[in-house]
Subunit: 533 residues, 2 copies
């Protein structure tokens, strides 16, 4: 057998030094010290020393996804709830690539997600073995920070650097490429201590608060556009106080990462999705105060319609996503000596009976949500309907698809359920987009999570049919029909769920849905309900 | 409503010129002229003008995948069988990203795959709307050619350039980013004519054939390592003639894109996967003739084992993957005035009865494969066993996972079935890797493909357990167990298949498997068999 001339002769091994451990162990232990609790993993051969290390490192829970998008979406959901670094462990470039879509959503949610991407042994890379690819090129679009570990000695501090990068400036993705030989190389224990990292909000400068006060005093119709931390209960309450006192209105950004709803909070709906409606809404304001939200832009460009939904002169920024918008709003309200906003009395949330429609689905779910629950919502019609209805629900938090990459809802709910085991986590998920990460159901069973999964089943990509009509297609031919319909064959959701070990049933009426949700809430296991409409 | 100052005022519209059509129509029509027959699509809003165009362009069949990896894997399979450009239609960066894993495999298979990636309107990109990402960075690692369409007028010729790039030099991926405004812009009809593109093989130079003859005359133990076109029946027959006359042996590369097997062909097995065995095999040769195969390298780097499996001095290249290795082998054999190789008489392929094992599964499938069938094989133990057994089967062709990205087998089989509707297409697929693109089952039903899907169900990532043992892990702790086992919960394959509309059953013995395969062969629809072992 030949030996490899370019391969170093087992560096860093000093048999007499028993204090030395595999670098993978030391790096993961350092991550635990920095507050990492869960590793969302779909590992391969180049991550086996890290898997072996997971057996030896305490307080780091491995969670297996059957597909990488499950791992990255779950990391996003976990990070949205905890603001702590969420770790994934993925296999080289092609495995990592399967996680990119949900990392894109995580990027738009400013979630602190740290990816460890295993790689070939450093001396093996040059041979361009089958799984070799340009990982940096793949990782860069979804990572604020990318680095390749250059030695076993550097592994722990590189991972800490990745974690620090992930929680800085409001939260972002960080990707560490980790060659297998630098996982097995033995190194001294890490000197990184115990210091839990978390994406924290910076204080808004006094000058900005003062400018905001002045602009509000002159405004006749202010609009508060809330995002990020401003969608906490205190942020929404302060915004509602300001809007009430100044004859203004409040909106959440169209796709919030996490927004509190219901339980007496003011009804702050999302800025409309289609640009015509959003522009009309913003046109009525003479001042748009951005609180943790971006300047509003059209989701897609449509001929003849502005991409920028409000003129720059009308925009005023109180806080960006890395800042504490909620307390900034309170400071503004206090400076204006405003009374507390009135608490909203929840109207009767009982839905009208009959065959399911998006509106009735929204009402029915809003009536069923338990106190302090979390909803992961993905999909067009029903998620909007729920958001509208959910101001009448008990207090809950809702996560939406921030980046538009499909398949975010189920994994994001999974991550939230792992982050908040005491809370009831629901997924409201359209049928088409559920398919992109359907394997999530399996991990929900494995991790014993009593989640409620509601599939909005209309057997089509309804949004695409809407978009086709918007570009003037009046009758759909063979291609447009086949590419936007899911009815041939119909997905059998009950069988699919059972395939992954999930109890399931179908509902076609409000009465059936309410009864099914009662059963789901009693279940100690994940429970899926197909809502056919 | 505001209008966008940066948006051009409807360029290229001359209402009086009725000869002008949307650029999307003209581009797709040009692609049809170049031999594109199928569009493997998972479109979104930015591809709607292309979808509308598919309704108007004739002879271009749209095939919907519920997940982008289904589309790219199917394109790979289609391209392996036809060598013609296989078109995908994917949605922006994040949608495209879901297709990267199978594009990586396609790249290693040298498959001519052309991706059309829709993009925001060119004037909308600067606003960094939620779905905006760096598509070039994502596409480059899996594309030899990447371009963004710069105007409606250029769209058709850009697509033709992409097609030409895909079939050049043995075949490769080509990605065309296509902003939506340049899809709708109206242009004159294309002047691109009808000329079917195909990845063709160049002739090997006479001098190389002569050098090969000379080296063979001096060799005492030549080894022919065959890849690409050399794995056609004629290539294998010529290699077998040469090996027989010169006391040599033949091997297929470890992961061939497409190899003929059985039906009297010489038994040319794959070069072993693990480097120790591959090195030992190559060590016995004094000359390694590369025919369409790459220099053999270790799949992964292992400490103390060479990455290059044979010393460079022993290697001699007759042809690379872009060249006609089969005819080059015949030219070498003819120059040496060799007799025809003996046809191999198929031994009795009847498998021994009893509980299923990988070996028995391989034997049973080999005995059941119909004449002129195609097998898409992914997964470790059973695929090797089938390859070994299949020399005794009727003549068939086998496709393997060329790049190591999981989830290649089902989509690749789907693409082959669409490419070769007269042939029986079988998938031999391990349970773990099947999950990465499980949504493929749905498209098999929609497209009415009577495929046979064999799931090798051992409820674990067996290869990872092997790799853990290779790095010295003797007993698996909680993490190593949970990250390499799929038994908690077990996947219910019969329910999963039914969820997608596929008939299914389970088999635990050879007798049950043989009977199930009989039923599958009678079925006019896809039929899944879980093989539990």
């Amino acid at each position: 057998m030949q030996t490899n001339p370019s391969q170093p002769a087992k560096p860093n091994v000093t048999d007499s030094d028993e204090a030395q451990r595999p670098a993978a162990d030391v790096a993961l232990q350092a991550a635990v010290g920095a507050g990492v609790e869960i590793c969302f993993a779909n590992p391969g051969t180049t991550e086996m020393p890290l898997v072996a290390a997971l057996d030896r490192v305490e307080r780091l829970r491995p969670v297996l996804g059957l597909f990488e998008g499950v791992c990255t979406g779950a990391a996003d959901g976990y990070a949205r709830i905890t603001r702590k670094p969420a770790l994934t462990l993925l296999h080289l470039g092609p495995g990592f690539a399967n996680g990119i879509a949900n990392l894109h959503n995580a990027r738009r949610a400013h979630s602190p997600v740290v990816n460890i991407i295993g790689d070939h042994a450093s001396w093996h890379l040059r041979y361009d073995a089958p799984l070799t690819s340009d990982i940096v090129s793949l990782a860069s679009p979804v990572s604020r920070w990318v680095r390749s570990v250059g030695s076993a000695e550097r592994a722990a501090s590189d991972l800490i650097d990745a974690i620090d990068a992930s929680v800085a400036d409001g939260g972002a993705g960080a990707s560490l490429i980790y060659p297998v030989d630098f996982q097995t190389g033995r190194v001294a224990s890490s000197e990184h201590g115990e210091w839990t990292r978390q994406a924290r909000f910076d204080e808004v400068e006094d000058a900005v608060v003062e400018t905001t006060v002045e602009r509000l005093r002159r405004a006749e119709a202010p609009l508060f556009l809330l995002g990020g931390g401003a969608l906490s209960p205190s942020g929404q309450s302060a915004a509602a106080r300001l809007a009430e006192a100044h004859g203004g209105v409040c909106y959440a950004e169209t796709f919030p990462a996490l927004a509190a709803r219901g339980g007496g909070l003011a009804d702050i709906d999302r800025l409309p999705y289609f640009p015509e409606k959003a522009i009309a809404t913003l046109d009525e304001a003479d001042l748009v105060v951005l609180v943790g939200a971006r300047e509003p832009v059209a989701y897609f460009g449509y001929e003849g319609i502005a991409s920028e939904l409000a003129p720059a002169g009308k925009l005023h920024r109180l806080s960006d996503v890395s800042q504490d918008g909620a307390s900034a709003l309170e400071r503004v309200a206090n400076a204006l000596r405003l009374p507390a906003a009135r608490s909203v009395t929840s109207a009767d949330a009982a839905p009208e009976p009959g065959p399911l429609t998006p509106g009735r689905i929204g009402d029915a779910i809003a009536s069923a949500l338990p106190e302090d629950s979390i909803v992961s919502a993905e999909g067009a019609s029903c998620s909007y309907a729920l958001y509208t209805a959910s101001s009448r629900a008990k207090r809950h938090r809702i996560m939406t698809n921030t980046g538009g990459a499909l398949g975010q809802g189920l994994p994001c709910g999974l991550g939230a359920a792992l982050a908040a085991p005491e809370q009831s986590v629901w997924c409201l998920q359209s049928d088409g987009s559920a398919q992109y990460t359907i394997q999530t159901l399996w991990t929900m069973v494995r991790e014993n999570l009593p989640m409620v999964i509601l599939i909005a089943s209309n057997r089509r990509y309804a949004v695409l049919q809407t978009e086709l009509r918007r570009i003037g297609v009046e009758s759909f031919g063979r291609a447009a029909t086949s590419l936007t319909n899911l009815s041939d064959p119909e997905l059998d959701w009950v069988s699919l769920a059972r395939g992954y070990g999930v109890s399931a049933e179908s509902a076609e009426t409000v009465e059936e849905l309410l009864a099914a949700m009662d059963r789901a809430k009693q279940s100690q296991q994940p429970y899926l309900i197909e809502m056919r409409y």
